[in-house]
Amino acid sequence: MRNHPCPGLSRRNFLAAAGAVSAVPLLGAPSSAPAAPVAIARCPDYGAALKPTLKTMMDQLGGLAKLVGGKTVTIKINLTGSPNQRMGNTPAEHAQYTHPAVVGAVVRLMGEAGARRIRIAEGCFSSSDPLPEFIMDVGWDPAPLLNAASRVEMVNTNLLGSYKKYARFQTPKGGHIFPGFDLHPAYEECDVLVSIAKMKEHATCGITLAMKNMFGGTPLTIYGDHAGKDGPDENGTQGGRGTIMHAGARGPAKTAPQENDPKSSREDKYRMPRIVADIAAARPIQISIIDGIYTMAGGEGPWNYGRLKPMRPGLLVAGTNAVCTDSVGAALMGFDPMADRGTAPFERCDSSLRLAEELGVGTRDLSRIEIAGLSIKEAAFRIRA
């Protein structure tokens, strides 16, 4: 539990500490990146076993009260793509979306652990809808989530709402692609950022876990296909993030930090892993939770082509360092987290794990990561089986 951004720090001290890391040269020794424990548990479904399993995992990480007691928490969930799109008849929460039961259990546990205020956040695809309305479009009832603890709110982080301006986050070491990001104030006003991801492969990044989940936190008004040119366009929330982020066809709104090198490769499989690493470094995640109970294989959503299929690994993963947690998640999926371009799951892209490690976010070296609960060997499966 040392050498990683500590959720016990105040927000101000934490951000200051994160900023101090930026003095480290970009090509610093990866092995010096912090390590933190990761808990692995089996959970067969989203029923009664879910909450106690998550509680045990949090206890294995040091106890949730210590992590969130008296704190403001922002929970980034994963609702990638259109809420009406499914892989066949498979509900989105059994394939591409974070299951609401996991979100509800986490909110409940955090409330019981004394969290002062909890915000559930997502930058919904092509949407300025209030998050509860987007959630209803998925077919879920937002009420149980909003009532899972006291002072629970939901926010679509694509647009400012009642805020006056976006919050600026600098990428340590200058970043691979972006030296910083402008994000919704919900990511600044929280003491603890939680990323609840789905355990999936990804067409552009090889894998999508806790770090890649945060890509959806970039506001469409600044980074979306119809983002403003000179500044955020609060009406420009149509489409996704393909134009600016994936393809680099233009820069984000000019008020936001621009690319370090506009002449760098425009290949999405070069850019996206770097952007994912940059975001993870600019706004570190304090608690990473990966929903691998039900998921899908073959891609991150039903829009991918190829061997898509639902899967039921029955796993939960949690940790306090996103690179460590994602590296364990990758290992559980049957991949070597030390792999890089040319080797699964990064056959055609660079490794966001390595790139984030280079930025000092955390280590992907499993030998340095303490595992709680099940061992990787006990829990591993092959998502490409």
Binding site: N84, Q85, R86, M87, G88, N89, P91, S126, D129, P130, E133, M136, D137, G139, D141, G161, S162, E234, Q238, G239, P302
Partner: protein
């Protein structure tokens, strides 16, 4: 024969031989709209066979219809040929147009039929459109979509056959004759199920306007875009707005730029005070009493409490019907959507309820005219005890398995090319 029972065909000019009347035998088509050059013997033979041959309908633009007329069909001549809208030739032959959300754009008539039926006060609504370009390329499914769309929304679309196809049918081309029979069978199927379209619409939203003059553009575009979002609504002429029209509704979108009259305000006031939502312009909001500003903010509306309800007052003029339809949907809340479809890309749907409330039907039109790429699921928060799928593409209705989750139920639909209906049997007292 009562006008409501007429099933018309625009008799092709290419069909000069009265013997071709045999093509209609056994079909529900009972009315010939004859071309000017029809041979005299054709009319005589048709009438001798019991077919009606009325004078040509007075087709008009929907904007020019005299809604005060009390009898005869309302004949709207400026519908659109229903299809997935294609971009211009410069965009490539296979590309489709799309709306602001990226969802495929549909050339559809549902909103117009809904409006016409609301204003026609019980008169039958007939609809036609100019033929599509390259009509010789139309497939049977194109014709079936045109017929199914009109039937689903409760209108009559005289059967029309492209000249090239009419010639081949007349020449005895077996494939074309078979397709023509399939088309007639589709019309017969819809006639057998026409009660569904006559049932009350399952809508929590009333859209009120005079739909004319300065209000015509915003009102018609808002209906069109609400329909494309599959937001269920009931259009009502503002002068006819009544407590009955608002009974059981959650929201009223009052579109007219002219201030709400005192008589209308007297109807709206108790609706909002008892918990309803009203969206209107400032001029109309002034007619309502007891508005208290809410702390909640909205980029395009000033929100007020009024009794147990809310009044959302547009901050300026109505300037974007797309945003207006979206804002209306979200301010009312998707919570009141009776059903939800997944993988519904180019589907449009329309739901009604039996007068006794025991059955819901959701009629779905596939404007892509081919099987959905992914299976379509239908979800409802209403408790149901059984579900069936009906389609003229199936020999028999199909029982659907109910997939129950906490607080909701789903059915998975079979693939269909053009038209299908889900019938839900509602659990009593649920």
């Amino acid at each position: 024969m009562p006008v409501a029972d007429l099933v018309p065909i625009e008799w092709p000019s290419e069909w000069q031989d009265p013997a071709l009347l045999k093509l209609l035998e056994g079909s529900p088509v009972n009315c010939l709209l004859l071309p000017k050059d029809a041979p005299p013997g054709l009319r005589a033979a048709a009438e001798a066979g019991g077919l009606a041959c009325p004078p040509p309908p007075a087709w008009k633009s929907w904007k020019e219809i005299d809604w005060s007329v009390k009898s005869g069909p309302v004949c709207i001549g400026d519908g659109v040929w229903p299809e997935l809208a294609m971009k211009g030739a410069d965009a490539g032959q296979d590309s489709t147009g799309s709306g602001p959300t990226g969802a495929p754009w549909l050339d559809a008539n549902g909103w117009l039929i809904r409006l016409a039926r609301a204003r026609a006060a019980g008169r039958p609504v007939w609809l036609r459109s100019d033929p599509p370009e390259k009509s010789e390329n139309l497939a049977t499914e194109n014709y079936l979509l045109a017929q199914s769309e009109a039937a689903a929304y409760g209108a009559v679309r005289p059967l029309w056959i492209a000249p090239a196809h009419a010639r081949q049918v007349a020449a005895g081309n077996p494939a074309l004759q078979s397709q023509f029979k399939r088309l007639l069978a589709g019309i017969a199927w819809h006639r057998e199920h026409r009660e569904w379209s006559q049932w009350p619409v399952l809508a929590r939203l009333v859209i009120a306007s005079d739909f004319a003059g300065p209000n015509e553009y915003t009102a018609s575009e808002t209906l069109l875009l609400a329909a494309r979002r599959n937001l269920s609504f009931q259009p009502v002429e503002s002068a006819r707005l009544s407590a009955v029209a608002l009974r059981g509704r959650r929201a009223l979108l009052y579109l007219d730029t002219q201030p709400m009259t005192a008589a209308t305000a007297a109807v709206v006031q108790p609706f909002v005070e008892s918990g309803g939502l009203v969206l209107c312009l400032k001029a109309s909001a002034a007619a309502l009493k007891g508005l208290r500003p809410l702390a909640e903010t909205h980029p395009r509306f000033a929100l007020h409490a009024c009794g147990k309800g809310r009044v959302a007052v547009c901050s300026g003029e109505w300037d974007d019907p797309y945003m207006l339809a979206l804002d209306t949907h979200l301010l009312m809340s998707r919570r009141y959507d009776a059903v939800r479809l997944f993988n519904s890309g180019s589907l449009s749907y329309f739901h009604t309820t039996s007068p006794d409330g025991k059955r819901w039907v959701v009629q779905m039109l596939n404007y892509a005219r081919r099987g959905a790429a992914h299976q379509v699921s239908l979800q409802t928060w209403q408790k149901v005890q059984a579900a069936r799928f009906h389609s003229p593409e199936l020999p028999q209705p199909q029982t659907l398995e109910l997939h129950r989750e906490p607080g909701m139920q789903e059915v998975y639909l079979p693939t269909f090319k053009v038209y299908g209906t889900v019938e839900l049997e509602i659990t009593p007292h649920a």
